[in-house]
Protein backbone atom coordinates (compact mmCIF):
# COMPACT_ATOMS: atom_id res chain seq x y z
CA UNK A 1 0.00 0.00 0.00
CA UNK A 2 1.32 3.46 -0.79
CA UNK A 3 1.04 5.88 2.08
CA UNK A 4 1.09 8.93 -0.14
CA UNK A 5 0.27 9.59 -3.79
CA UNK A 6 2.02 11.83 -6.27
CA UNK A 7 -1.01 14.12 -6.32
CA UNK A 8 -0.86 14.49 -2.55
CA UNK A 9 2.82 15.45 -2.75
CA UNK A 10 1.96 18.03 -5.42
CA UNK A 11 -0.73 19.43 -3.10
CA UNK A 12 1.72 19.61 -0.18
CA UNK A 13 4.26 21.40 -2.39
CA UNK A 14 1.59 23.97 -3.26
CA UNK A 15 0.74 24.43 0.41
CA UNK A 16 4.45 24.83 1.22
CA UNK A 17 4.88 27.31 -1.66
CA UNK A 18 7.55 25.28 -3.44
CA UNK A 19 7.43 24.94 -7.21
CA UNK A 20 8.31 21.39 -8.28
CA UNK A 21 9.01 19.81 -11.64
CA UNK A 22 7.33 16.56 -12.68
CA UNK A 23 10.49 14.57 -12.13
CA UNK A 24 11.01 16.12 -8.68
CA UNK A 25 7.46 15.15 -7.75
CA UNK A 26 7.94 11.57 -8.99
CA UNK A 27 11.14 11.19 -7.03
CA UNK A 28 9.83 12.77 -3.84
CA UNK A 29 6.60 10.75 -3.89
CA UNK A 30 8.51 7.48 -3.82
CA UNK A 31 10.94 8.74 -1.14
CA UNK A 32 8.11 10.05 1.01
CA UNK A 33 6.44 6.69 0.81
CA UNK A 34 9.53 4.96 2.24
CA UNK A 35 10.08 7.61 4.92
CA UNK A 36 6.45 7.64 6.04
CA UNK A 37 6.51 3.86 6.23
CA UNK A 38 9.46 4.11 8.63
CA UNK A 39 8.21 6.95 10.83
CA UNK A 40 4.68 5.52 11.16
CA UNK A 41 6.19 3.24 13.84
CA UNK A 42 5.44 5.96 16.38
CA UNK A 43 1.82 4.81 16.29
CA UNK A 44 2.78 1.45 17.86
CA UNK A 45 3.36 2.99 21.31
CA UNK A 46 1.32 6.21 21.16
CA UNK A 47 -1.56 5.05 23.30
CA UNK A 48 -4.58 7.09 24.43
CA UNK A 49 -3.16 7.30 27.95
CA UNK A 50 0.13 8.93 26.94
CA UNK A 51 0.11 12.73 27.16
CA UNK A 52 1.92 14.62 24.36
CA UNK A 53 5.13 16.60 24.95
CA UNK A 54 5.65 19.60 22.70
CA UNK A 55 8.63 21.03 24.48
CA UNK A 56 11.33 19.89 26.93
CA UNK A 57 10.69 22.73 29.38
CA UNK A 58 7.50 23.82 31.04
CA UNK A 59 6.84 27.01 29.12
CA UNK A 60 5.28 30.13 30.52
CA UNK A 61 4.52 33.37 28.76
CA UNK A 62 7.27 35.92 29.20
CA UNK A 63 6.22 39.53 29.65
CA UNK A 64 8.15 42.76 29.81
CA UNK A 65 7.19 46.34 30.47
CA UNK A 66 5.91 48.19 27.44
CA UNK A 67 8.83 50.56 27.07
CA UNK A 68 10.91 51.52 24.05
CA UNK A 69 14.21 49.64 23.84
CA UNK A 70 16.93 50.00 21.21
CA UNK A 71 16.09 48.17 18.00
CA UNK A 72 17.08 48.11 14.34
CA UNK A 73 16.92 51.35 12.39
CA UNK A 74 14.69 51.32 9.28
CA UNK A 75 17.86 51.21 7.15
CA UNK A 76 19.15 48.17 9.06
CA UNK A 77 15.77 46.41 8.94
CA UNK A 78 15.62 46.94 5.17
CA UNK A 79 19.29 46.14 4.55
CA UNK A 80 18.58 42.61 3.33
CA UNK A 81 15.45 43.38 1.34
CA UNK A 82 15.42 42.10 -2.25
CA UNK A 83 13.54 45.30 -3.18
CA UNK A 84 12.54 48.38 -1.20
CA UNK A 85 10.93 51.75 -1.69
CA UNK A 86 10.29 54.67 0.67
CA UNK A 87 11.46 52.85 3.83
CA UNK A 88 9.27 49.88 3.00
CA UNK A 89 9.67 46.35 1.66
CA UNK A 90 8.66 46.30 -2.00
CA UNK A 91 6.83 43.07 -2.88
CA UNK A 92 5.25 41.65 -6.02
CA UNK A 93 1.50 42.03 -6.53
CA UNK A 94 -0.42 40.20 -3.80
CA UNK A 95 -4.00 40.68 -5.05
CA UNK A 96 -5.65 40.57 -8.44
CA UNK A 97 -4.72 38.82 -11.66
CA UNK A 98 -1.61 36.97 -10.65
CA UNK A 99 -3.49 34.06 -9.00
Amino acid sequence: MTAISRDEVAHLARLARIEMTDSELDHLASEMDVILGAVARVQEVAGQDVPPTSHPLALANVFRDDVVIPSLTPEEALSGAPAKADQRFKVPQILGDAE
Binding site: L36, E44, P51
Partner: protein, 497 residues
Protein backbone atom coordinates in the same frame (compact mmCIF):
# COMPACT_ATOMS: atom_id res chain seq x y z
CA UNK B 1 51.31 26.78 18.83
CA UNK B 2 48.20 26.09 16.70
CA UNK B 3 48.17 22.46 17.91
CA UNK B 4 47.89 23.56 21.54
CA UNK B 5 44.71 23.56 23.55
CA UNK B 6 42.76 26.81 23.83
CA UNK B 7 43.61 26.83 27.55
CA UNK B 8 47.34 26.68 26.75
CA UNK B 9 46.93 29.45 24.16
CA UNK B 10 45.09 31.57 26.71
CA UNK B 11 47.91 30.95 29.17
CA UNK B 12 50.56 32.01 26.64
CA UNK B 13 48.52 35.14 25.91
CA UNK B 14 48.22 36.05 29.57
CA UNK B 15 51.98 35.58 30.06
CA UNK B 16 52.52 37.82 27.02
CA UNK B 17 54.51 35.09 25.24
CA UNK B 18 52.39 35.78 22.18
CA UNK B 19 49.89 38.45 21.17
CA UNK B 20 46.37 37.75 20.01
CA UNK B 21 47.20 39.35 16.65
CA UNK B 22 50.09 36.89 16.21
CA UNK B 23 47.95 33.94 17.33
CA UNK B 24 45.11 34.98 15.03
CA UNK B 25 47.50 35.41 12.10
CA UNK B 26 48.92 31.90 12.68
CA UNK B 27 45.39 30.49 12.36
CA UNK B 28 44.57 32.61 9.30
CA UNK B 29 47.79 31.32 7.70
CA UNK B 30 46.78 27.75 8.52
CA UNK B 31 43.35 28.33 6.97
CA UNK B 32 45.04 29.71 3.83
CA UNK B 33 47.33 26.67 3.72
CA UNK B 34 44.83 23.84 4.15
CA UNK B 35 41.26 25.03 3.60
CA UNK B 36 41.34 24.37 -0.14
CA UNK B 37 41.47 20.69 0.90
CA UNK B 38 39.23 20.70 3.96
CA UNK B 39 36.69 23.39 2.99
CA UNK B 40 35.68 24.00 6.60
CA UNK B 41 34.99 27.71 6.03
CA UNK B 42 32.35 29.48 3.99
CA UNK B 43 33.69 32.91 4.89
CA UNK B 44 36.94 34.04 6.51
CA UNK B 45 36.81 37.47 8.13
CA UNK B 46 40.55 38.28 8.09
CA UNK B 47 40.25 41.99 8.73
CA UNK B 48 37.57 41.66 11.41
CA UNK B 49 39.45 38.91 13.24
CA UNK B 50 42.70 40.84 13.30
CA UNK B 51 40.99 43.98 14.51
CA UNK B 52 39.19 42.07 17.30
CA UNK B 53 42.57 40.58 18.24
CA UNK B 54 44.26 43.98 18.24
CA UNK B 55 41.54 45.31 20.53
CA UNK B 56 42.18 42.49 23.03
CA UNK B 57 45.94 43.09 22.85
CA UNK B 58 45.41 46.78 23.57
CA UNK B 59 43.24 45.98 26.60
CA UNK B 60 45.82 43.53 27.89
CA UNK B 61 48.62 46.06 27.41
CA UNK B 62 46.54 48.57 29.36
CA UNK B 63 46.31 46.11 32.23
CA UNK B 64 42.57 45.50 31.98
CA UNK B 65 41.14 42.37 33.56
CA UNK B 66 40.25 39.96 30.74
CA UNK B 67 38.10 36.84 30.40
CA UNK B 68 39.87 33.45 30.49
CA UNK B 69 39.63 32.95 26.71
CA UNK B 70 40.30 36.56 25.68
CA UNK B 71 42.33 36.70 22.48
CA UNK B 72 41.81 33.05 21.52
CA UNK B 73 40.39 32.50 17.99
CA UNK B 74 37.20 30.63 17.19
CA UNK B 75 35.28 29.33 14.17
CA UNK B 76 31.54 30.12 14.08
CA UNK B 77 28.94 27.84 12.52
CA UNK B 78 27.23 29.69 9.69
CA UNK B 79 23.82 29.26 11.32
CA UNK B 80 24.63 32.01 13.86
CA UNK B 81 24.10 35.62 12.89
CA UNK B 82 27.04 37.97 13.18
CA UNK B 83 26.38 41.60 12.32
CA UNK B 84 27.64 42.54 8.87
CA UNK B 85 29.19 39.13 8.16
CA UNK B 86 27.71 36.92 5.40
CA UNK B 87 25.44 34.31 7.00
CA UNK B 88 23.84 31.58 4.87
CA UNK B 89 23.06 28.57 7.11
CA UNK B 90 24.48 26.61 4.17
CA UNK B 91 21.53 27.63 1.99
CA UNK B 92 21.37 29.32 -1.34
CA UNK B 93 18.24 31.16 -0.25
CA UNK B 94 20.36 33.33 2.07
CA UNK B 95 23.22 33.88 -0.37
CA UNK B 96 24.68 37.34 0.13
CA UNK B 97 22.70 38.11 3.29
CA UNK B 98 24.51 40.15 5.92
CA UNK B 99 22.54 40.14 9.19
CA UNK B 100 21.92 43.54 10.78
CA UNK B 101 22.36 42.13 14.30
CA UNK B 102 24.48 39.80 16.43
CA UNK B 103 23.14 36.56 17.89
CA UNK B 104 23.44 36.42 21.69
CA UNK B 105 26.15 33.77 21.35
CA UNK B 106 28.17 36.21 19.23
CA UNK B 107 27.48 39.05 21.68
CA UNK B 108 28.82 36.80 24.47
CA UNK B 109 31.87 35.75 22.44
CA UNK B 110 32.71 39.40 21.72
CA UNK B 111 32.20 40.35 25.38
CA UNK B 112 34.71 37.64 26.30
CA UNK B 113 37.25 38.89 23.75
CA UNK B 114 37.08 35.67 21.75
CA UNK B 115 38.23 36.34 18.19
CA UNK B 116 35.86 35.16 15.44
CA UNK B 117 37.86 33.92 12.44
CA UNK B 118 34.94 33.22 10.14
CA UNK B 119 31.87 31.13 9.38
CA UNK B 120 31.96 27.35 9.00
CA UNK B 121 30.25 25.06 6.53
CA UNK B 122 27.19 23.01 7.44
CA UNK B 123 24.33 21.01 6.01
CA UNK B 124 21.67 23.40 4.73
CA UNK B 125 19.68 24.73 7.70
CA UNK B 126 21.47 22.11 9.82
CA UNK B 127 19.60 19.25 8.15
CA UNK B 128 22.04 16.42 7.64
CA UNK B 129 24.83 14.29 9.07
CA UNK B 130 27.61 14.85 6.55
CA UNK B 131 27.68 18.51 5.27
CA UNK B 132 26.87 17.02 1.86
CA UNK B 133 23.62 19.01 1.97
CA UNK B 134 25.44 22.36 2.02
CA UNK B 135 24.66 24.51 -1.02
CA UNK B 136 28.34 25.48 -1.02
CA UNK B 137 30.12 22.13 -1.33
CA UNK B 138 31.06 19.36 1.10
CA UNK B 139 33.57 19.69 3.93
CA UNK B 140 36.25 16.98 4.03
CA UNK B 141 37.31 15.06 7.14
CA UNK B 142 40.95 15.90 7.98
CA UNK B 143 41.50 12.24 9.00
CA UNK B 144 40.69 11.11 5.44
CA UNK B 145 39.72 13.73 2.87
CA UNK B 146 37.47 11.22 1.06
CA UNK B 147 35.29 10.89 4.15
CA UNK B 148 32.54 13.03 5.66
CA UNK B 149 33.30 15.26 8.68
CA UNK B 150 29.86 14.61 10.14
CA UNK B 151 27.00 17.05 10.15
CA UNK B 152 25.41 19.29 10.31
CA UNK B 153 28.34 21.05 12.00
CA UNK B 154 31.02 19.35 9.90
CA UNK B 155 32.82 22.61 9.17
CA UNK B 156 33.21 23.49 12.85
CA UNK B 157 34.50 20.02 13.78
CA UNK B 158 36.83 19.81 10.76
CA UNK B 159 38.31 23.24 11.52
CA UNK B 160 39.35 21.92 14.95
CA UNK B 161 40.80 18.66 13.62
CA UNK B 162 42.72 20.56 10.92
CA UNK B 163 44.11 23.05 13.49
CA UNK B 164 42.47 25.97 11.73
CA UNK B 165 40.86 27.01 15.02
CA UNK B 166 41.16 25.79 18.64
CA UNK B 167 37.50 26.48 19.42
CA UNK B 168 34.25 26.45 17.47
CA UNK B 169 30.54 26.97 17.93
CA UNK B 170 28.08 24.32 16.85
CA UNK B 171 24.35 23.76 17.10
CA UNK B 172 22.72 20.44 17.88
CA UNK B 173 19.15 19.52 16.93
CA UNK B 174 19.58 15.76 16.70
CA UNK B 175 23.35 15.32 17.05
CA UNK B 176 24.87 18.08 14.89
CA UNK B 177 27.54 18.93 17.48
CA UNK B 178 28.20 15.44 18.85
CA UNK B 179 28.30 13.33 15.69
CA UNK B 180 30.80 15.62 13.89
CA UNK B 181 32.92 15.60 17.07
CA UNK B 182 32.83 11.79 17.14
CA UNK B 183 33.95 11.30 13.53
CA UNK B 184 36.72 13.94 13.69
CA UNK B 185 38.28 12.95 17.04
CA UNK B 186 37.21 16.19 18.74
CA UNK B 187 35.00 17.16 21.69
CA UNK B 188 31.48 18.52 21.24
CA UNK B 189 28.85 19.40 23.82
CA UNK B 190 25.12 19.94 23.51
CA UNK B 191 24.19 21.81 26.70
CA UNK B 192 20.85 21.43 28.44
CA UNK B 193 18.06 22.91 26.28
CA UNK B 194 17.68 26.53 27.32
CA UNK B 195 21.23 26.72 28.69
CA UNK B 196 22.55 28.77 25.77
CA UNK B 197 20.41 31.43 24.09
CA UNK B 198 18.89 30.66 20.70
CA UNK B 199 18.52 34.36 19.83
CA UNK B 200 20.12 34.78 16.40
CA UNK B 201 20.39 31.03 15.79
CA UNK B 202 18.60 30.49 12.48
CA UNK B 203 15.83 28.13 13.58
CA UNK B 204 15.47 24.58 12.28
CA UNK B 205 13.44 22.90 15.02
CA UNK B 206 12.88 25.31 17.88
CA UNK B 207 12.03 22.78 20.58
CA UNK B 208 15.21 20.78 19.82
CA UNK B 209 17.86 23.31 18.64
CA UNK B 210 20.65 24.10 21.08
CA UNK B 211 23.99 25.86 20.52
CA UNK B 212 27.10 24.59 22.24
CA UNK B 213 30.89 24.44 22.38
CA UNK B 214 33.23 22.45 20.11
CA UNK B 215 36.88 22.02 21.06
CA UNK B 216 39.82 19.61 21.15
CA UNK B 217 39.75 19.05 24.92
CA UNK B 218 37.03 18.74 27.56
CA UNK B 219 38.42 21.70 29.53
CA UNK B 220 38.43 23.91 26.42
CA UNK B 221 34.80 23.00 25.77
CA UNK B 222 33.98 23.88 29.40
CA UNK B 223 35.71 27.26 29.15
CA UNK B 224 33.77 28.07 25.99
CA UNK B 225 30.55 26.73 27.53
CA UNK B 226 30.81 29.19 30.42
CA UNK B 227 31.58 32.02 28.00
CA UNK B 228 28.43 31.54 25.90
CA UNK B 229 25.87 30.15 28.37
CA UNK B 230 23.40 31.95 30.61
CA UNK B 231 19.96 33.49 30.78
CA UNK B 232 18.93 35.75 27.92
CA UNK B 233 15.73 37.74 27.99
CA UNK B 234 15.71 37.72 24.18
CA UNK B 235 15.01 33.96 24.21
CA UNK B 236 11.76 33.02 25.94
CA UNK B 237 13.00 29.41 26.34
CA UNK B 238 16.22 30.47 28.05
CA UNK B 239 16.62 29.06 31.57
CA UNK B 240 16.83 31.70 34.27
CA UNK B 241 19.24 29.91 36.61
CA UNK B 242 22.99 29.94 37.24
CA UNK B 243 25.16 28.21 34.61
CA UNK B 244 26.37 24.84 35.95
CA UNK B 245 30.03 25.06 37.07
CA UNK B 246 31.39 23.12 34.12
CA UNK B 247 34.99 24.42 34.23
CA UNK B 248 35.46 23.32 37.84
CA UNK B 249 33.85 19.97 36.96
CA UNK B 250 36.18 19.44 33.97
CA UNK B 251 39.16 19.95 36.29
CA UNK B 252 37.98 17.53 39.01
CA UNK B 253 39.50 14.42 37.41
CA UNK B 254 37.68 12.21 39.85
CA UNK B 255 34.69 9.93 39.36
CA UNK B 256 34.87 7.90 42.56
CA UNK B 257 31.42 6.91 43.70
CA UNK B 258 29.68 8.10 40.52
CA UNK B 259 27.23 5.72 38.88
CA UNK B 260 27.54 5.44 35.12
CA UNK B 261 24.54 3.98 33.32
CA UNK B 262 25.15 2.11 30.08
CA UNK B 263 22.03 2.37 27.91
CA UNK B 264 21.27 -1.17 26.80
CA UNK B 265 19.33 -0.10 23.72
CA UNK B 266 22.18 2.03 22.33
CA UNK B 267 24.44 -0.86 21.36
CA UNK B 268 24.33 -4.17 19.54
CA UNK B 269 23.06 -4.54 15.99
CA UNK B 270 24.18 -1.83 13.61
CA UNK B 271 27.12 -0.73 15.77
CA UNK B 272 30.55 -1.24 14.16
CA UNK B 273 32.72 -3.78 16.04
CA UNK B 274 35.60 -1.32 16.44
CA UNK B 275 33.25 1.29 17.88
CA UNK B 276 31.97 -1.23 20.39
CA UNK B 277 35.44 -2.37 21.48
CA UNK B 278 36.73 1.19 22.05
CA UNK B 279 33.54 2.00 23.94
CA UNK B 280 34.02 -1.02 26.25
CA UNK B 281 37.66 -0.11 26.87
CA UNK B 282 36.67 3.43 27.83
CA UNK B 283 34.16 2.00 30.30
CA UNK B 284 36.98 0.00 31.88
CA UNK B 285 39.01 3.21 32.27
CA UNK B 286 36.10 4.71 34.19
CA UNK B 287 35.88 1.62 36.39
CA UNK B 288 39.62 1.88 37.11
CA UNK B 289 39.05 5.52 38.05
CA UNK B 290 36.52 4.44 40.66
CA UNK B 291 33.17 4.74 38.91
CA UNK B 292 30.46 2.14 39.21
CA UNK B 293 28.90 0.85 36.01
CA UNK B 294 25.22 -0.09 35.90
CA UNK B 295 23.08 -1.14 32.96
CA UNK B 296 19.91 0.83 32.33
CA UNK B 297 17.11 0.17 29.89
CA UNK B 298 15.30 2.80 27.85
CA UNK B 299 12.86 0.69 25.82
CA UNK B 300 11.25 3.60 23.99
CA UNK B 301 14.50 4.85 22.47
CA UNK B 302 13.87 2.58 19.51
CA UNK B 303 11.03 4.91 18.54
CA UNK B 304 13.07 8.10 19.00
CA UNK B 305 14.37 8.26 15.44
CA UNK B 306 10.89 7.90 13.96
CA UNK B 307 9.48 10.53 16.32
CA UNK B 308 12.36 12.89 15.57
CA UNK B 309 11.77 12.65 11.82
CA UNK B 310 8.21 13.83 12.40
CA UNK B 311 8.79 16.50 15.03
CA UNK B 312 11.86 18.16 13.49
CA UNK B 313 10.42 18.38 9.95
CA UNK B 314 7.09 19.62 11.33
CA UNK B 315 8.77 22.46 13.19
CA UNK B 316 11.05 23.09 10.22
CA UNK B 317 8.14 23.39 7.79
CA UNK B 318 6.80 26.15 9.99
CA UNK B 319 10.14 27.86 10.76
CA UNK B 320 11.27 27.87 7.13
CA UNK B 321 8.08 29.61 6.02
CA UNK B 322 9.91 32.84 6.83
CA UNK B 323 12.06 32.41 3.73
CA UNK B 324 9.47 33.97 1.49
CA UNK B 325 11.70 36.26 -0.66
CA UNK B 326 9.98 39.36 0.66
CA UNK B 327 12.20 40.80 3.42
CA UNK B 328 15.64 39.22 3.01
CA UNK B 329 17.40 36.52 1.03
CA UNK B 330 17.21 35.94 -2.68
CA UNK B 331 14.16 36.65 -4.86
CA UNK B 332 13.56 34.78 -8.10
CA UNK B 333 11.13 35.50 -10.95
CA UNK B 334 9.97 38.97 -9.95
CA UNK B 335 9.47 40.20 -13.51
CA UNK B 336 6.66 42.62 -12.78
CA UNK B 337 3.93 40.25 -13.97
CA UNK B 338 4.33 37.39 -11.51
CA UNK B 339 2.35 37.64 -8.26
CA UNK B 340 3.83 37.38 -4.77
CA UNK B 341 2.84 33.76 -4.28
CA UNK B 342 4.32 32.73 -7.60
CA UNK B 343 7.58 34.54 -6.82
CA UNK B 344 7.63 32.82 -3.45
CA UNK B 345 7.24 29.40 -5.06
CA UNK B 346 9.93 30.04 -7.65
CA UNK B 347 12.34 31.42 -5.05
CA UNK B 348 11.86 28.48 -2.73
CA UNK B 349 12.32 26.03 -5.59
CA UNK B 350 15.69 27.52 -6.46
CA UNK B 351 16.76 28.51 -2.94
CA UNK B 352 16.17 25.25 -1.07
CA UNK B 353 18.11 22.03 -1.62
CA UNK B 354 16.73 18.52 -1.87
CA UNK B 355 16.89 17.53 1.80
CA UNK B 356 15.29 20.78 2.95
CA UNK B 357 12.42 20.35 0.49
CA UNK B 358 12.01 16.72 1.56
CA UNK B 359 11.68 17.77 5.20
CA UNK B 360 9.34 20.68 4.52
CA UNK B 361 7.01 18.38 2.58
CA UNK B 362 7.23 15.69 5.27
CA UNK B 363 6.50 18.25 7.99
CA UNK B 364 3.64 19.80 6.05
CA UNK B 365 2.15 16.33 5.69
CA UNK B 366 2.59 15.43 9.37
CA UNK B 367 0.85 18.64 10.41
CA UNK B 368 -1.97 18.52 7.87
CA UNK B 369 -5.51 18.00 8.99
CA UNK B 370 -6.48 14.33 8.91
CA UNK B 371 -2.90 13.16 9.51
CA UNK B 372 -1.94 15.35 12.47
CA UNK B 373 -2.99 12.90 15.21
CA UNK B 374 -1.51 9.85 13.51
CA UNK B 375 1.88 11.43 12.84
CA UNK B 376 2.77 14.63 14.72
CA UNK B 377 0.48 13.80 17.64
CA UNK B 378 1.87 10.28 18.00
CA UNK B 379 5.43 11.59 17.79
CA UNK B 380 4.73 13.98 20.66
CA UNK B 381 3.53 11.05 22.74
CA UNK B 382 6.72 9.14 21.97
CA UNK B 383 8.57 12.21 23.19
CA UNK B 384 6.83 11.84 26.54
CA UNK B 385 7.84 8.17 26.70
CA UNK B 386 11.47 9.08 26.02
CA UNK B 387 11.43 11.74 28.75
CA UNK B 388 10.03 9.08 31.11
CA UNK B 389 12.71 6.56 30.09
CA UNK B 390 15.42 9.10 30.89
CA UNK B 391 13.82 9.95 34.25
CA UNK B 392 13.82 6.26 35.24
CA UNK B 393 17.39 5.78 34.05
CA UNK B 394 18.68 8.83 35.95
CA UNK B 395 17.12 7.40 39.11
CA UNK B 396 19.75 4.64 38.85
CA UNK B 397 22.73 6.55 37.45
CA UNK B 398 24.40 9.97 37.63
CA UNK B 399 25.19 10.03 33.92
CA UNK B 400 24.30 7.77 31.01
CA UNK B 401 26.72 6.65 28.31
CA UNK B 402 26.70 5.13 24.82
CA UNK B 403 28.74 5.25 21.64
CA UNK B 404 28.04 8.64 20.00
CA UNK B 405 27.45 7.07 16.57
CA UNK B 406 27.04 3.54 15.30
CA UNK B 407 30.00 3.86 12.91
CA UNK B 408 33.12 5.87 12.20
CA UNK B 409 33.21 8.43 9.34
CA UNK B 410 31.80 7.04 6.12
CA UNK B 411 32.83 7.90 2.57
CA UNK B 412 31.52 11.05 0.91
CA UNK B 413 28.64 10.02 -1.36
CA UNK B 414 28.11 6.66 0.35
CA UNK B 415 24.72 7.51 1.87
CA UNK B 416 23.69 10.67 0.07
CA UNK B 417 21.02 8.95 -2.00
CA UNK B 418 19.49 7.00 0.86
CA UNK B 419 17.82 9.36 3.36
CA UNK B 420 16.90 6.59 5.79
CA UNK B 421 20.46 5.23 5.97
CA UNK B 422 21.68 8.78 6.57
CA UNK B 423 19.12 9.36 9.33
CA UNK B 424 20.41 6.27 11.20
CA UNK B 425 23.66 8.11 12.04
CA UNK B 426 21.77 10.00 14.71
CA UNK B 427 20.16 7.03 16.42
CA UNK B 428 22.16 7.44 19.65
CA UNK B 429 22.19 11.24 19.77
CA UNK B 430 18.52 12.05 19.10
CA UNK B 431 17.00 10.94 22.46
CA UNK B 432 19.01 13.68 24.24
CA UNK B 433 17.41 16.42 22.13
CA UNK B 434 13.93 14.96 22.56
CA UNK B 435 14.27 15.28 26.35
CA UNK B 436 16.24 18.55 26.33
CA UNK B 437 19.05 17.15 28.49
CA UNK B 438 22.84 17.55 28.11
CA UNK B 439 25.08 15.42 25.88
CA UNK B 440 28.81 15.32 25.18
CA UNK B 441 30.96 13.40 22.73
CA UNK B 442 34.66 12.89 23.31
CA UNK B 443 37.19 10.74 21.43
CA UNK B 444 38.09 7.36 22.98
CA UNK B 445 40.55 6.07 20.40
CA UNK B 446 40.73 4.82 16.84
CA UNK B 447 38.60 1.95 15.63
CA UNK B 448 40.91 -1.05 15.10
CA UNK B 449 39.11 -1.97 11.86
CA UNK B 450 39.64 1.31 9.99
CA UNK B 451 41.90 3.55 12.09
CA UNK B 452 39.27 6.29 12.39
CA UNK B 453 38.16 8.12 15.57
CA UNK B 454 35.42 6.72 17.81
CA UNK B 455 33.19 8.97 19.91
CA UNK B 456 31.93 8.25 23.43
CA UNK B 457 28.68 9.94 24.46
CA UNK B 458 27.95 11.09 28.02
CA UNK B 459 24.44 12.28 28.86
CA UNK B 460 23.46 14.22 31.96
CA UNK B 461 20.12 15.32 33.35
CA UNK B 462 18.83 18.83 32.66
CA UNK B 463 21.04 21.55 34.19
CA UNK B 464 23.44 18.90 35.51
CA UNK B 465 25.84 19.62 32.65
CA UNK B 466 28.72 19.68 35.15
CA UNK B 467 28.41 15.91 35.66
CA UNK B 468 29.14 15.10 32.02
CA UNK B 469 32.17 17.40 32.13
CA UNK B 470 33.39 15.70 35.30
CA UNK B 471 33.14 12.24 33.73
CA UNK B 472 34.45 13.43 30.36
CA UNK B 473 37.43 15.21 31.89
CA UNK B 474 38.36 12.17 33.97
CA UNK B 475 38.06 9.77 31.04
CA UNK B 476 40.08 12.10 28.78
CA UNK B 477 42.89 12.33 31.34
CA UNK B 478 42.99 8.54 31.79
CA UNK B 479 43.15 7.97 28.02
CA UNK B 480 45.77 10.67 27.52
CA UNK B 481 48.08 9.06 30.07
CA UNK B 482 47.59 5.72 28.31
CA UNK B 483 48.20 7.14 24.81
CA UNK B 484 50.96 9.58 25.74
CA UNK B 485 49.72 12.14 23.20
CA UNK B 486 46.38 13.60 22.09
CA UNK B 487 44.43 11.56 19.55
CA UNK B 488 44.86 14.19 16.82
CA UNK B 489 48.62 13.51 16.67
CA UNK B 490 47.57 10.37 14.76
CA UNK B 491 45.77 12.35 12.05
CA UNK B 492 47.65 12.64 8.75
CA UNK B 493 49.64 15.80 8.20
CA UNK B 494 47.82 18.06 5.74
CA UNK B 495 50.26 19.40 3.17
CA UNK B 496 49.96 23.11 2.45
CA UNK B 497 48.43 23.68 -0.97
Amino acid sequence: MIRNSAAAMADALSKKEITSVELTQLHLDRIDAVDSQVHAFLHVDREGALSQAAAVDAKRAAGEKLSPLAGVPLALKDVMTQKGIPTTAGSKILEGWRPPYDSTVVTNLKANGIVILGKTNMDEFAMGSSTENSAYGTTHNPWDLDRIPGGSGGGSAASLAAFQAPLAIGTDTGGSIRQPAAVTGTVGVKPTYGGVSRYGLIAFSSSLDQAGPCARTVLDAALLHEAIAGYDKKDSTSINAPVPAVVAAAKKLDVKGLKIGVVKELSGDGYQAGVKSRFDEALQELVSAGAEIVEVSCPNFEYALAAYYLIAPSEASSNLARFDSMRYGIRVGDDGSAGAEEVMRMTREVGFGKEVKRRIILGTYALSSGYYDAYYGSAQKVRTLIVQDFAKAFAHADVLVSPTCPTTAFKIGEKSNDPLAMYLNDIATIPVNMAGIGGMSLPVGLSPDDGLPVGFQIMSAAMKDDLMYQVGGTLEAALLSKWGAPILTNAPELAAK
